[in-house]
């Protein structure tokens, strides 16, 4: 196993190097550059454009620039943004990343959980009328033309009903006197969400072994109650109390995007769970469980669904990789200034250092996640493990 990981890591470094060089060349091959619009300004002296290019090193031949960039990249120097000059790409990413993480972490957790539940029920009720209807709805929300759907929802809930704000992630007028910038609040909210989900996950694992259904349900309810009371105290004491109105403002802006993306995202998981579960139900051990006289619900939840969870977990890992890539469209529609918009704007404005930094951020993330998925998959499924050893 260790040998495999080392070999994979070496290959990954080579792939990343190729990725870096080819995407740098790709960005430079786009006609024009970030400063082309200076040429259109009649007030500037004729040599201003060349001077600016020389300042940013854009007048050097392309091969020299690639070499410089790659060397500096591995030294940890990513250059300066062309558009937001004194800022470095790292600063920009650090500013934008919490916003995207907050939004999409919640979306993905909710979507995968509901998707798994729906898929489980779908496979179990095979052939019934309710299955057909739920499937048709899921397929509709899986294949719906997303920007169109999001705009319609924005129109209905944001404009017609006026329940939610149309775009942006805060009301600027509320923040004029705020002693913090929004990222402080975002980081606090991410920490809060992470702690809550960890507690809930631990409670879920702990109660899983309890045989009695009612006792298990009561214990889970108690853990939910504890979290509710705990979060009430958390937001009403000390430091968090002063930050509460600002956090509430952000949360209010988050509701509509979360609902819309969840509706679109849950269906994929539901359909995937259904397919794997339908295959699992045909296995012999389900027949054995039935022959033992176990209850339907128990067979469904404890025997079938657990095996069907495996591909869902894999797809969850790959979804995490595509969060930033997938956020481009959502953030454009909801004018949510996160990583997706940064990625898009830097590409459109040819802000090469920022575009390269975001591209490699996404790329490294994808490479590592792919490796982790391969390794964890062989640990989760004993059949694969045995095969790879023998």
């Amino acid at each position: 196993m260790a040998e495999y990981i080392i070999r994979r890591t070496l290959q990954m470094i080579v792939v990343f190097f190729i990725f870096l060089v080819s995407s740098y060349l790709l960005f430079n091959a786009i006609p024009g550059n970030a400063f082309s619009n200076l040429l259109l300004n009649p007030d500037l002296p004729p040599d201003a454009y060349e001077k600016v290019l020389a300042t940013y090193g854009l007048d050097k031949p392309i091969m020299e620039r690639v070499q410089l960039y790659v060397v500096n990249f591995f030294k940890g120097d990513f250059g300066y943004s062309y558009k937001y000059y004194p800022k470095t790409p790292i600063e920009l990413i650090a500013e934008r990343l919490p916003r995207t993480l907050m939004l999409f972490a919640i979306v993905n957790i909710v979507a995968f959980y509901t998707g798994f539940l729906v898929g489980k029920v779908l496979a179990w009720r095979r052939g019934s009328k309710s299955e057909t209807w739920i499937t048709v709805t899921s397929v509709f929300s899986y294949t719906v033309f997303y920007p169109w759907f999001a705009l319609m929802m924005l129109w209905f809930f944001g404009y017609k009903m006026g329940w939610f704000p149309i775009g942006k992630f805060l009301y600027p007028e509320k923040w004029y006197t705020a002693p913090w910038d929004s990222d402080v609040i975002f980081v606090l909210m991410i920490k809060f969400t992470a702690i809550i989900s960890i507690i809930q996950f631990i409670a879920y694992i702990m109660t899983r072994g309890i045989e009695s259904l009612s006792q298990r349900r009561n214990l889970r309810f108690a853990s939910l109650l504890t979290i509710a009371v705990g979060s009430y105290f958390f937001w009403n004491t000390g430091d968090a109390l002063t930050k509460k109105p600002y956090a509430a403002d952000i949360a209010y802006h988050m509701i509509l995007p979360v609902i819309v993306v969840t509706i679109v995202a849950f269906a994929g998981t539901a359909l995937l769970t259904r397919t794997t579960m339908v295959e699992v139900i045909k296995e012999d051990y389900i027949l054995t469980a039935r022959a033992k006289g176990l209850s339907q619900k128990r067979i469904r939840d404890r025997h079938a669904a657990r095996t069907a969870l495996l591909p869902v977990v894999t797809s969850f890992i790959f979804t995490i990789v595509t969060i930033i890539d997938g956020s481009v469209l959502t953030e454009t529609i909801f004018s949510w200034p996160g990583m997706g918009q940064l990625l898009l704007q830097s590409v459109l404005e040819e802000d090469i250092p920022v575009a390269m930094a975001t591209f490699s951020f996404v790329g490294v993330f994808a490479l590592i996640a792919h490796l982790v998925a391969d390794i964890s998959y062989s640990y989760l499924d004993p059949r694969i493990r045995i095969k790879s050893q023998g």
């Binding site: 294949t143 397919t275 295959e279 996404v362 790329g363």
Partner: protein
Amino acid sequence: MSNTLKEQEELQKQLRKEAIRKNWKLFSQSKLGMIGLYIVAFFLFLALLQPFLFITGIWNPAIYDPVVGYDKISANLLVIECPKEYPSEKYESYEDCPGPGEVNIKKLYMAPDLEVGDYYDTFIQPAPPSRTHLLGTDSLGRDVFSQIMEGSQVAFVLGLLSATLGVGISTILGTIAAFFGGRVDAYLMRQSDLVLMLPSLPLLFIISAFAELKVWHLAIVLGVLGGLGGSVITIKSQALQVKVKPYVDSARITGGSKWQILFQHILPNVAPLALLFMVFSVTGAIASESVLSFLGLLNIDMSWGIMIYLSQTDGFIFSGLDFWWLILPAGLAVTFLAGGFYLVGRGLDEVFNPRLRKR
């Protein structure tokens, strides 16, 4: 000798026919698969109907052309003056004035000699659905129904072309990776890693900056990107399962060459999964085209994405359902065709994967 060969061929033909008949029976048992097939057939009918209407002369291209057609739809509007305070006796609120068939005199700076009570003769675009224009016209006076038909032609060409190309590439590469293993496998897997690393939407943005993307350019780009990416990994895992089957071993023992085994024994057995993949990737290709046109990056005259793009840039999408014929048909068409292909794929899945069947 030749007689027996002929007989053999005849027998093979019959067997193939039998297999198709059996598979069709299995497919038609899946209700959702059949619904999907009907949806796809409906859009195919729409795509083929438009050229037919133009050739037979039922539709005049000058009026019904989806890109340059124009129809003068005139209307006689009653000139009125909106009250200063609401609710008045005729209008409930500010939004109700002017009502249908009326025009506010304050808006008539183009025709200053008109007075309240006169009739104002004008062209209205976008016009609501009527007998001549089943789905109305857009803000440039073009027939929406004809645009939907043109859009379905684009969707079919693009979806099928890019899916065929992508699945062709990934099937060949995936089977090669599984069959040869070792360095070839490692190279191909890292190559698909490289493609997966690039964020897809920004990458398409960059490509659209290089060249004016037409429909078939985009089909090739989407096909190659899809074919080199994640689907190679999936096809490879399927081919690995086929590789260890006894008939591959016996083919090797009887002296089949490497390429012969690859193309005659492994590839045909991976093909069902590849076909399945193709149907599902049509869904993805249609969605990508619509997203790119929606963002205004493609050099296509007309497609469903462009229809939504125009209705958004013209500001109709936030006007609610007053102009529903500009908003709903295009969005629903994308959704339904993609969903139709998805359902067909699911039906095929039940045919090829016996473990998914009911009995």
